[in-house]
């Protein structure tokens, strides 16, 4: 069995923020990068399935050379090899799906996994868009997978935690929710070994028109604003006690 896991290296804000000249994004100097949390769960799930039945896990990502750091983490967890589609630009999720489609198709996987969403853009769109381009059945927000013959029974996690048990034809694309498993930590030895694993680099093809364009990014105005409690931890605790007693009554 072959599982392709599409992963993303995501950005988070440090303590301070400045914007690029055109104000359309955060200045990269103010961003920290890491493997998207959802994608660690997707990688773990792929490893569990292939370890149970034999097979291969291929990690695919769209991004600059630095994105290989996150791919290496997946390889250190146990994925067999990686393919990075080179892009320096920020793409929207539909464009990312277009960038991935041909590469994933060529792998003829039995299953394709993506995370439900990325922590930095939170569009929850790449996986389902990719399924469409690959003409694959798909289920979004999956918290359990049981493989059958030509189909899989999966749990789809709805709002309020209600579970929709669905049966999906395979091959299929599933977007994986956090909590589906406990992603393993890579041992130092595995991290070392992962350095030897192959990451093939492909050029970005035509990704089409952007689905949207950021006109301007800004730090949101604080709401009515919380009244900030200052002072020592003891002062803060004393104020919290007062507020609780007054408001709980």
């Amino acid at each position: 069995m072959k599982v392709v896991v599409c992963v993303k290296q995501v950005a988070s804000l440090g303590d301070e923020v400045e914007f690029t000249e055109d104000e359309r994004d955060v200045d990269p100097d103010f961003l920290d990068y890491a493997l998207n949390e959802w994608d660690a769960y997707a990688t773990e799930e792929a490893l569990r399935l292939t370890e149970a039945s034999g097979g291969e896990v291929v990690v695919v990502s769209v991004g600059p050379e630095d994105a290989e750091d996150s791919m290496r983490r997946c390889l250190a967890m146990g994925a067999d090899r990686g393919i990075r589609i080179h892009s320096e630009e920020t793409l929207d999720p539909i464009q990312v799906a277009r960038a991935l489609a041909e590469v994933v198709q060529a792998e003829s996987p039995d299953l394709v996994f993506t995370g439900v969403q990325s922590a930095d853009a939170v569009q929850a769109a790449t996986g389902t868009a990719l399924a469409e381009l690959l003409d694959l059945p798909r289920v979004a927000v999956v918290t359990k997978i049981e493989l059958g013959d030509g189909k899989a029974t999966v749990n789809r996690e709805l709002e309020g935690g209600l579970i929709d048990v669905a049966e999906v034809d395979t091959p299929a694309l599933l977007t994986i929710q956090t909590g589906i498993n406990e992603p393993r930590y890579a041992t130092l030895r595995a991290i070392k070994q992962a350095e030897q694993k192959e990451i093939e680099v492909r050029q970005l093809g035509d990704v089409g028109e952007a689905a949207y364009r950021v006109r301007k990014m800004f730090v949101p105005p604080k709401g009515e604003g919380a009244e900030m409690l200052n002072g020592s931890p003891a002062d803060v605790a004393a104020r919290i006690k007062e507020i609780v007693e007054e408001r709980k009554a």
Binding site: L31, V122, R138, G160, T178, Y212, A226, V236
Partner: protein, 312 residues
């Protein structure tokens, strides 16, 4: 030219987000069409026939519950026939299963988790968040005549008032459904009902380690609070999901909500932002939870917890 809203329903009930979408649709100023895709559409049409809806299109299908292929095909047919300028769906688990596919297939303008929309002369401009909700962005759709938006639940007030929409049937799609609904499984209720508590002490990722959890359980006990948690604590298996506050957990509205080490992901805020008094303690001054909190403190949560222990 119109705005199409796709109704969402579960076990025979139209979900609240549908009425919120109608409010947003009215803001755009174009005629509003609501699509109901259901085995028994008549049961839902009454629930969405509210003031401001011009037309309700019903699509009768075999499936009682949501299946993504069915919705995708039905909405695709409707877009082809109706040529709407804007299509509005909830930013929900169901929408995640088919909306991006439509956007990819039809080349629509697309954005999700949108919490504000503005039909400007130069085109539609919407707002959404990036980078863990710490940054907001104005987003536009140059080159797209048709835009599909997934709107953040609870960002608009539900539409109400009796409506007088014209109702018409639309043929069901002929394609197959490759991912079929089998059954629903309820969340285990657990030992405590956090939705009825007056005072919740809620902990999140900031507590760091499972070994730290008992001290907060103890503190909650001393303070007379019920312990609840945010999603990461449940994901790691430290607490059952019956204790989880947020979109995929419980929606709570206690008199006092004391959040320790919770940064305030959108999905979490959706589950607690209407609490009577919200007190948030977080070491990150930019944490999104401070945007909904009434009182905030930027301080180490363990130090505050230790001091609270002494006071009770």
């Amino acid at each position: 030219v119109s705005t199409v809203v796709v109704a969402e329903h579960l076990r025979g009930e139209v979900r609240p987000v549908t009425l919120e979408l109608i409010t947003a649709a009215k803001e755009l100023g174009d005629p509003v069409t609501v699509v109901v895709i259901a085995k028994d559409p008549a049961a839902a049409t009454g629930q969405v026939n509210v003031d401001g809806v011009d037309e309700i299109v019903t699509v009768q299908v075999e499936q009682e519950e949501f299946e993504n292929d069915v919705y995708q095909q039905a909405v695709e047919q409707l877009i082809a026939e109706h040529r709407p300028k804007t299509v509005l769906l909830g930013f929900t688990v169901n929408s995640m299963g088919y909306a991006p596919a439509l956007a990819a297939k039809l080349g629509l303008g697309f954005a999700s988790d949108v919490f504000s929309i503005d039909a400007q002369a130069s085109g539609l401009v919407v707002e959404r968040a990036f980078y863990g909700s710490k940054i907001h962005a104005e987003v536009e759709f140059p080159g797209h005549d048709q835009v599909l938006l997934l709107l953040r639940p609870t960002a608009w007030a539900p539409a109400d008032g009796a409506g007088s929409a014209e109702i018409r049937d639309f043929p069901a799609p002929a394609g197959e459904s490759r991912a079929k609904h089998k059954e629903f499984v309820e969340v285990a209720t657990g030992d405590v009902d956090i939705t009825t508590a007056d005072f919740l002490l809620s902990v999140g990722r900031g507590i760091g380690d499972k070994e730290n959890l008992p001290q907060f359980e103890e503190l909650a006990g001393k303070m007379g609070a019920t312990l609840s948690v945010s999603r990461p604590i449940v994901d790691q298996g430290w607490m059952p999901n019956s204790r989880q506050v947020g979109q995929s957990g419980k929606t709570v509205k206690p008199k006092v909500y004391l959040a320790l080490g919770i940064s305030g992901a959108v999905q979490h805020l959706a589950g607690m932002k209407t609490s009577g008094t919200i007190i948030a303690v977080n070491s990150d001054p930019e944490a999104a939870i401070f945007n909904v909190a009434h009182y905030g403190a930027v301080v180490d949560l363990f130090e505050v917890a230790e001091e609270l222990e002494k006071l009770y």
